[in-house]
């Protein structure tokens, strides 16, 4: 067990490699109750979020639809990344990171206080279990009842549904941090242990932080604190696709700073690397791009699916396909690739 942002969490339940393979091949589950659930209520929530977030919640029209966005400061630097769900016109839900909980809540509440008609509620009464893998949804659906189960079965990717009646505080989202299909279930903390045990009895493998990291890395998903932080913008973090510059008349916190950076030329980019040969790339190692300059590994590790080392690196924008990584005193060659490294369980390149 390790301390993760003030939460005591397991690195693994036996073998992080086995757990990783279980998620890619069958179903695994993560206790992600450390994540912060923030509900926003009021008549002006949509308008507020269009100002607060770099991505545009106006894209969310189907009830339950969600998007991934960065939360920026006025300098365009990343305060956090999060998922935002549109539940009703008067209710949006944000799921933000654990390590940034206090910072995010202070920021969101301060910004909400500047407008009227937005109430911010942190849901500390809720736990969260992520069930991921090709068999994940069927395992979860077997434990739900009635209309809630039927609606959950009909969810499309990046859509969630809140329960009603007895299950008012339950919520199922077809989202995840692994690159596999599956659900993230938010539920009353008091109901979580029984739910977990029922999933375990149904054959879902408990998985720890080790597998969580190797799965998200293979899937090309950033980790706040490693791949981006308050010293960089989304444009330098492989997250340009999450910034909605269109429509041009939507101002949002950080917009002008990002436009200025774009105009001047973004100096660095986040790329995927595959090490050529044996060894493991790790956070903090130096990257050298011949003729161009230096960079740094932001997230690195061993890919159990590819059976070689993969990483994200922040490098000069002019970097093309080759670089060298300094590992334990030696320079080893690495190839620049487009992420994700793995999609639906399959490697994306040779």
């Amino acid at each position: 067990m390790v301390d993760f942002a003030g939460w005591e969490m397991p690195l693994h339940y036996g073998s992080q490699l086995d757990e990783h393979h279980r998620v890619r091949r069958a179903a695994g589950m993560f206790d992600v109750s450390h994540m912060t659930v923030v509900d926003l209520h009021g008549s002006r929530v949509r308008e507020f979020l269009r100002w607060l977030l770099a991505n545009d919640v106006d894209r969310l029209r189907l009830p339950g639809k969600a998007l991934y966005s960065c939360l920026l400061n006025p300098q365009g630097e990343v305060l956090d990344d999060l998922i935002a769900y549109f539940l009703t016109e008067n209710w949006f839900r944000l799921v933000v990171n654990a390590a940034t909980r206090s910072k995010d809540l202070t920021w969101i509440k301060a910004r909400a206080a500047e407008v009227e008609g937005v109430e911010v509620w942190e849901r500390t009464d809720l736990a969260m279990v992520a069930v991921q893998g090709p068999e994940a949804r069927e395992k979860v659906l077997a434990l739900l009842f009635g209309r809630f189960a039927t609606t959950a079965a009909g969810l499309v990717a990046f859509q969630g549904i809140a329960g009603d009646g007895v299950r008012t505080d339950w919520f199922v989202g077809r989202t995840g941090y692994t690159g596999e299909d599956g659900f993230e279930v938010i539920l009353p903390a008091t109901s979580a242990p029984d739910f977990w045990e029922a999933l375990r009895a149904a054959g879902v493998a408990p998985c720890g932080l080790g597998a969580r990291d190797t799965l998200r890395l293979e899937a090309g998903m950033n980790l706040y604190g490693n791949d981006m932080d308050e010293s960089v913008t989304p444009l330098e973090s492989g997250l340009s696709w999450t910034v909605a510059f269109a429509p041009s008349d939507r101002d949002f916190i950080g917009r002008s700073a990002l436009e200025a950076q774009r105009k001047a030329g973004v100096p660095r980019k986040l790329v995927g690397l595959v090490l050529q040969g044996r060894g493991v790339m790790r956070h903090g190692q130096t990257v050298m791009v011949p003729g161009v300059g230096n960079g740094i590994i932001t997230s690195g590790g061993f890919s159990p699916t590819l059976e070689q080392s993969i990483a994200f690196a922040r490098v000069p924008t002019a970097t093309s396909t080759e670089c060298q990584v300094e590992i334990r005193g030696q320079w080893l060659p690495a190839r620049v690739v487009k992420t994700p490294f793995v999609r639906f369980g399959k490697p994306q390149f040779i």
């Binding site: 490699l17 044996r278 060894g279 493991v280 061993f302």
Partner: protein, 131 residues
């Protein structure tokens, strides 16, 4: 995991050493070490024929978490290495004292084996490190 008392010795760098009938010694890393390191992914083995001094770096075990050097427990010549670790590095995690063996040495001085830490002393070392 069965460790027959008296046949195993240990180092402060968490290798185990087992004397074989022919006088050679087999070397691996202990359960304590492999638990701390986590799932193994790459093992760098020494070369057969290599002459090692005591405590000389002779290989690397790389896990999902970190890379860790292996040190020769005593001086000698490498007579065999466990090539199956190239394909199945996880043997070190699953069977650290058996299938997960790393190298075999012919000691320059056989009596050096008896000077190594015994099981009780190693258990004390581990208990102290865990504080």
């Amino acid at each position: 995991m069965i460790e027959a008392f008296g046949e195993y010795r240990y180092t402060k760098t968490h290798e185990w050493v087992r004397r074989e009938e022919d006088g050679s010694v087999t070397v691996g890393i202990t359960a304590h070490a492999e638990e701390l390191l986590g799932d193994m992914v790459y093992i760098q083995l020494p070369e057969v024929g290599q002459n090692l001094s005591a405590e000389e770096e002779c290989g690397v075990v790389e896990s999902v978490k970190a890379a860790s050097d292996i040190y020769a427990p005593l001086a000698g010549e490498v007579v065999e290495v466990n090539l199956s670790l190239d394909v199945s590095p996880e043997s070190i995690n699953k069977d650290p004292y058996g299938e997960g063996w790393i190298l075999r040495l012919r000691p320059t001085e056989p009596a050096d084996f008896d000077a190594l830490m015994n099981r009780a002393a190693y258990a004390t070392l581990v208990a102290e490190e865990e504080h």
